[in-house]
Symmetry: C2
Subunit: 271 residues, 2 copies
């Protein structure tokens, strides 16, 4: 931690485990976010969430007492829509996902169609998943002409009352039934969502860092995108499991802080 942070002009912030824990905001982290912004550090939040639109996430930030503009948020649902629409304008897509994902796909001009007409299979998590959705996704997956995009690769999500399935529920089922994995994954640790975030910041890679609480998601995403990586110990990774997780993943963050507040103080003191 002896390094100065003169190089740092922008930060990509994870949300859960950094700014909040589930629905509970971390007040010191929110204070730190404001300090960093006031000091001229550009900020973009990046979330792997595959069920919510930006509009829904904005409401969550307001509940936290934060003023965050849509331009400060890259969410995997939106990043997926942007990615597909750049690849094929007005493409016909079928999705296993929820209304929040459909809203983002439609906003980018993509057409949600019957599975028999789809050019893209977009896999996202869905709390209303059912046998018919699996059947339709299976049939698309068996068609090699259909391009298969996953919103994120998250296997299990730690909900308040215990683990619940992530998008991996659908990815795993399709893999087991067909042998096929997604052609493209958008969310962290993929560099696709990271590249959109860096583009949004309008900075060069050497001026940017990512802050997150998960080594195999956030730190790996930073490495994949060629930017500096900050791990905070306020979420999934903590002082007790840090060593073991670094060892298991074979990935080490450039900087480690107990939380965003300590990070902000350190960054601003060195400026």
């Amino acid at each position: 931690m002896m390094d100065g942070f003169d190089w740092l002009r922008g930060l990509i912030l994870d949300i859960d485990g950094v700014i909040s824990r589930g629905r509970k905001p971390l007040p010191e982290a929110i204070e730190a976010y404001k300090m960093l912004k006031e000091a001229g550090i550009k900020i973009v939040f990046v979330s792997n969430n595959s069920t919510r639109s930006r509009r829904i996430m904005m409401g969550r930030f307001r509940e936290f007492g934060m003023e965050v503009g849509e331009e400060e948020l890259i969410i995997a649902t939106h990043a997926t829509a942007v990615y597909i629409s750049r690849e094929r304008k007005n493409a016909r897509v079928y999705t296993t996902g929820e209304e929040g994902l459909k809203e983002e796909l439609r906003n980018e001009g993509l057409r949600i169609v019957d599975y028999r007409d789809a050019e893209y299979l977009v896999v996202g998590s869905n709390r209303g998943i059912n046998f018919q959705i699996f059947t339709e996704a299976l049939r698309l997956c068996l068609n090699e002409e259909v391009r298969y995009v996953a919103v994120n690769p998250d296997r299990v999500f730690p909900a308040e009352d215990g683990p619940i399935p992530g998008t991996g529920l659908v990815i795993g089922a399709l893999y087991w039934m067909t042998g096929r994995e997604p052609d493209v994954i958008i969310g962290k640790p993929s560099r696709i969502i990271m590249d959109q975030a860096i583009e949004r910041l309008g900075l060069r890679r050497e001026e940017v860092g990512i802050v997150g609480d998960q080594i195999e998601v956030d730190v790996l995403a930073g490495k994949n995108a060629g930017i500096k990586t900050f791990l905070v110990l306020s979420g999934v990774t903590n002082k007790d499991n840090y060593e073991e997780r670094v060892k298991r993943s074979g990935v080490e963050p450039d900087f480690v802080f107990s939380d965003l507040y300590e990070l902000a103080h350190s960054v601003l003191a060195s400026k």
Copy 2:
């Protein structure tokens, strides 16, 4: 095919692709079944179906115009119930499966319980599968003290309007989310269901053959159980794909017939 069939005293018959195609009976095959029985060959039907009880399957046989007793049918739902109840009498089980499976589990004295109280996770296909069932199965799968039993390993089922998910939908999702595969698989090609069928016939292995239409299911099941294997080309495997399927699977049947009728004639002529 020069061999005589003097050794043959019992046959294990697959249903779909042998006796019927979906809901359509194959009249010559049903005739052949009657001929074999009249000639004193003992018969047990074995089905990997994970959603139906024996009671439901009996109705299907009656629709085909066949008189089949419950003692002539080993269905994977029932075989699962027998297996678990022999392992732990009155065990507490949670299942992802349908009412037909639950009926068989209850008939063997097993108790269907809330997932938090379960000693066994029983995975079967379910056309009413939903996010809650996946969540509960996920949590059980993460608990290494819970024994995980799959009714069959079937990945995809060829329905009349196209492929639909098999039990592999759930097995694959759980595998991807937790890294865990079933501790035990009951249905073909597992020898567990085969051993129950041979036990039911009351014959020695060298007196028994299996007849089926799928190399990687029926023929492999026969090899695993150490009995003779008959492939019929009236279902999934046909004259056109036979060579390629033998090559791909690395498994070769002992005898090949175009259908059960040709098989019955050949067997009875040699006696």
